[in-house]
């Protein structure tokens, strides 16, 4: 006959503690794995904009990044960006150059497409639309969240690649063509994958999509 043994008070406490610990560990594992957990996702439908025609919505893993474009500052560059957005050229393109807390760069349409990345050439690709002239004469404050077109060491070589600054970069003024500023959701860009030892990212994060608020 099996004799029933009643658990003592201290045994009950230890048992409760172990169960709690297991639950905490499991939940922590899933919470930590979700890098987007504390990133607010902005819904552009619920926001109002002064110039909705110039609002672009960049969707990344952690949510929407809402960008106001400035055609009055750089008409040609903004037009190029809008053209590529409308043709969905930026969808599934890598954030190939990321410097922690400083800058994210994407838009290599030739060598940065998901499933067709060329790590040897990424950052040098072109859109096929040709280069455009730099538009750097209008004063522009390159503060955190500024969006600019990337170029080679030479001016007038802007094409499809763009960057977004994650900190103030006053020296970029009159160096890089500005196209706009992030007005909501920059936190989502801070979660873009970066490497500790290189600006160029192996197995990078991708742009899910970029859309104009009003097509």
């Amino acid at each position: 006959m099996i004799q029933k043994i009643k658990a003592s008070k201290s045994e009950k406490i230890i048992f409760f503690f172990l169960i709690s610990l297991a639950i905490f560990s499991l939940s922590s594992f899933f919470l930590i794995k979700n890098k987007c957990l504390f990133v607010k996702n902005y819904n552009p439908e619920k926001l109002s904009f002064d110039k909705p025609n110039n609002i672009a919505i960049l969707n990344v893993e952690c949510g929407n990044v809402i960008i106001e474009l400035y055609p009055n500052i750089s008409p040609n560059a903004v037009e190029r960006f809008k053209t590529l957005v409308r043709s969905k050229a930026y969808d599934d393109v890598a954030f190939h150059r990321v410097i922690k807390d400083s800058l994210v760069q994407a838009g290599d349409l030739e060598f940065g497409k998901k499933g067709n990345i060329d790590y040897g050439k990424i950052g040098t690709g072109q859109s096929g639309l040709g280069t455009i002239n730099s538009e750097i004469d209008v004063p522009f404050n390159y503060e955190r969240g500024s969006v600019g077109l990337a170029r080679t060491q030479k001016y007038n070589t802007e094409d499809s690649q763009f960057f977004i600054t994650l900190k103030d970069e006053p020296l970029y003024e009159s160096e890089y063509t500005p196209i706009g500023k992030v007005i909501y959701g920059i936190e989502a860009l801070e979660k873009i994958k970066y490497l500790n030892k290189s600006e160029y990212v192996l197995r990078p994060d991708f742009i899910n999509s970029i859309k104009m608020l009003i097509d």
């Binding site: 800058l103 900190k167 970069e169 020296l171 030892k197 290189s198």
Partner: protein
Amino acid sequence: MKLFKFILLYLFLISSVQADTIYQLIKIPNLEIYNIKTTNSLRYLYAKQPFTIGADNNINCFRPSKQDLDQKYEIIEKNLKRYSQSFLKKINLKYIVLCEDLSISGINTAGIPDNVMKTLIVDIKFDNKYFERVLHHEVFHIINDSFKEIFNEKTWSSFNSDSFNYAKCSTCTKKIGLDTYSKTDGFITEYSKSTASEDMAEVFSHLMHGNLPKQIDPILQKKIDFIKSGLLKIDQSFNL
């Protein structure tokens, strides 16, 4: 020793890549912003640590003291603000790097101009006697490099007497005196006799500094007129 190597490796592995915006822009390491809010949009940077650059790592410069930097900045800014923003844009000059004991291949130099990178490196410890004038001398090299066709060296050399020949380079001659001649014979300083480019820079710097000799010989006058007309071709509003 093993522990030391391990610590070094650990530090290497945990250190993350740092954004060096200035390096990205002008390919000179160890710089910091001194002042970028200037009337003509020149951006003044200084060496926070020594730096070595150049194809053979042959250019070196060192960190200046705060006191020297503050003192010399006033002089440099006063001189360089005479160039308008539009002129600087045309000649491709945007960044002034301030450091001390600047040398190229072991030879001390007042400045190193680079119109491709839009940069002029200035040795703030260069001889005070010539310092202000030399700033304009170095600016002229930027102008010259950006407008070679205007400041044609053959045309310039034709102003000299037939028997005169410049040296093959500015460092392959002992003619390095910077004192202004009181009596000129086609040249304004001894250094003018080194190369056509240095000769032009010497004339330009004297024009800018306003210390031309009282008596100017016909050859030198031709050179002065050549420089003045060249500058007006670049910028009609250029004011000497």
